[in-house]
Symmetry: C2
Subunit: 240 residues, 2 copies
């Protein structure tokens, strides 16, 4: 009996749709029935992660995220995934509140990057908010690796806002420049750690810097798990 993927989504809703599209595109299928069943809570009313984590204002989103996870579990999800890097700051509380496994996008990405690029600093293309949470720094430190962010944080924020506003073309030169800077600092690989950048990443060319999209890593792990792993492993094994 193949698994049902539960998606803790809506952060934002476009990233959730992007994940579903990539799941569809990534699954070998001749008919609808070959695709993986997915339960999605695209909750656009999760309290702002930025306001809580960075600005120190606003409600703690943890109870809402936990309730979403429990709802998906009750609805029949075999395991859960959350296509939002920033929200992984609350991962431990979410994973601790359900019996089904929760895939950790940030830790899975670190493992994938380390496998393919065994040395040197790892560039991160993500919002300054993600940088300040330290989630990627922590995940890579567990592998003895250092992360670096582009120095011009305003350029990154401007690029994110351009994509959100549907003007992806404006983001491209800024992202290309940020990637070049990471390469100059010695990185051979950068993580796409931001939904907005996942949207434009397929159009981005950044040699000599390789790009690994955290959303693609999560999608690949979901497909592998849903199609080949009938028996849930323990939470501990899951994100190695």
């Amino acid at each position: 009996m193949p698994g049902v993927i539960g998606i803790i989504g809506g952060m934002g809703p476009e990233a959730t749709i992007l994940m579903m599209s990539r799941l569809l595109a990534g699954t070998p299928a001749r008919d609808d029935a070959d695709h993986i069943p997915v339960l999605v809570d695209s909750n656009t009313r999760v309290p702002s992660r930025i306001a809580h984590l960075i600005e120190g204002t606003g409600a703690d989103p943890t109870p809402v995220l936990v309730s979403m996870a429990q709802g998906l579990e009750a609805g029949g999800a075999s395991f859960l995934a959350m296509p939002c890097n920033t929200a992984h700051s609350y991962f431990a509380a979410i994973a601790g509140a359900v019996a089904v496994p929760v895939l950790n996008m940030v830790e899975l990405t670190a493992a994938a990057v380390v496998d393919l690029h065994p040395t040197g600093p790892v560039g991160i293309l993500a919002s300054p908010a993600v940088e300040r949470t330290g989630i990627f720094a922590t995940a890579f430190a567990a592998h003895g690796r250092e992360v670096i962010y582009p120095a011009d944080r305003d350029a990154i924020l401007t690029a994110i806002r351009a994509v959100k506003a549907g003007r992806a073309a404006e983001a491209m030169p800024r992202l290309t420049q940020a990637a070049a800077e990471l390469a100059r600092q010695g990185a051979s690989v950068a993580v796409i750690g931001c939904s907005e950048f996942s949207i434009v990443a397929p159009q981005l060319t950044t040699p000599p810097l390789a790009l690994i999209d955290s959303l693609d890593v999560l999608v690949g792990a979901c497909i592998a798990r849903a199609t080949t792993a009938p028996h849930p492993a323990s939470q501990q094994d899951l994100n190695r």
Copy 2:
């Protein structure tokens, strides 16, 4: 408190994603939080509607569809919608099994078409399976209107298969020809009543035949209901 849309989905999964994308595009929003929360059961394992309705073989999908609707209700959906025309053959059983309202895509489409095009036969661009269920014929008959389908059913099936296989360009001439035939038979409007055709409809030009996409009608009704109608109307009022 705005509504949460529950989507009885997965028939197929691409139509479900298309509905979510159109909900997103159709909702006025400056930030993620302005978007409508959506609960989605994209269940790719619903027993084949074609096999049950047309071929007379295979399991009755009703229990699965009812269980999906009840799960979405239990998960907090304020009302339900089902982006699959064929599955509306089971609408009464689904709507009767939950306390929340269920939007009827087929009846809403008939009402929208009749409003805009008050006379003449109504063309339907949908699979021969949809034709044989009679769901559009019944919905339009309630308004005293007749429906007509293109005579060349093989051309329609070929077009559907081409879109499913990612070769949309091949479907275009067949659909254009089918639309021209409907216009020659006196139709001033045709319903897009098939998910595959919804995918390509924006690229289709068929003057003098106007096209109304049942998926767009459903999306419009969902947005209107979720953003402006805090108190669920009775099921009876809902699909008028």
